[in-house]
Symmetry: C2
Subunit: 216 residues, 2 copies
């Protein structure tokens, strides 16, 4: 039996969700909350298996509430399934970074919602196709392996090491200390990197390093 906490500031929506959720034998609503603060309080009391949460709420927004859940030692592992009306890029990214376990829109079908709840409890991340499109848009803008290999292709492994440290903002002396080299050697490498990568500054090297995804 999966116990669900329903969080939405509109009474009507909560009622609708309750009837939807309880239509299934394996699902039950153990509480309702009208805002983030209430949600946290009730969640700590009832320890639901999943929190179904709207984002637009007074007092404590959905995103803040999700972050609070993830920060709470008691609730840390409770999946939070976002169920909201909009799919702004900003909302989606914020919710995910706050620690959401899934992201559905309110036009979701009844069966879909129930399936999503089960999926989230099992550790999966149910996401509405429109939202997934947003997510993919974000990922498209990330540094790609292709760029990495194209720009860093003919660097030796040692040069890559140095570039990575330059990309962290280290000075030549610090790089030398980090790799047990003399500062002069570090400078030699940086000079070579500048020539190879057609950069003028070490700060341009930093830009390249980040563009190539060397920051991870």
């Amino acid at each position: 039996m999966i116990n669900v906490l329903v969080v939405d500031d509109q009474l009507l929506v909560r009622a609708g969700l309750r009837s939807l959720v309880e239509h299934a034998d394996d699902l039950a609503v153990v509480g309702e909350a009208a805002n983030g603060r209430e949600a946290l309080k009730i969640a700590r009391q009832h320890r639901p298996d999943l929190i179904l949460m709207d984002l637009q709420m007074p007092v404590l927004s959905g995103v803040e509430a999700i972050a609070a859940v993830r920060a709470d030692p008691l609730l840390r592992d409770t999946p939070v399934l976002v169920l909201t009306t909009f799919d702004d890029d900003r909302d989606v990214v914020d919710a995910i970074q706050a620690g959401a376990s899934g992201y559905l829109l309110k036009d979701v079908g009844a069966d879909e919602l129930r399936t999503a709840i089960r999926t989230a409890v099992e550790g999966g991340a149910p996401v509405a196709p429109v939202v997934a499109k947003r997510m993919m848009g974000q990922i498209s803008r990330m540094p790609s392996r292709k760029i990495r290999e194209e720009t860093l292709g003919d660097l030796t492994s040692r040069e890559l090491e140095i570039l990575e440290l330059v990309g962290r903002g280290l000075s030549n002396a610090e790089i030398g200390a980090e790799l047990y080299l003399s500062p002069e050697t570090a400078r030699t490498y940086v000079s070579r990197l500048l020539a190879k990568l057609d950069a003028r500054d070490r700060s341009q090297l930093v830009v390249l390093a980040h563009r190539a995804g060397l920051s991870d």
Copy 2:
């Protein structure tokens, strides 16, 4: 009627997919291909409404094939739905950056697959919950608005402008030229930024700018 091109290097899988897909009245398989090169050829001939593609393939991998589809003026708008066995972070990111329209795993249910095909054709992005979890993991590692506001909170708008240019690797003189300032003024701002953000180098400023997501 939605015409589907099935791409997989295993005959058996293609046969299975064909029977699954054609089980619905509104779906039809208009072609099969065993690798990326074939897929492109047949796609150009038949102009399917959707391409169902495995990633692991000889000759031309799935990711490469997707990129080729997106680069082809005739096929540019044809959705490519990835259907594969694994969900490596790398595969997922590569496929998305190549231009995939969705990402399913081969343990998908028959109904789910058919629904996903329709969703993809309509412009949505069907994604398996496990894959969505990977995607969310990627997005979690991106620069967040929170960090941005925390680190850049008490900067004036002008200072932000300068920081953005520093983050692109410009020198003081270039910043001055860009903003119609004297180089000395640019230096003054950079100095202030160094003090405010507790950095020592302009290269550390570049790091901060990128961490805060000022590169977009």
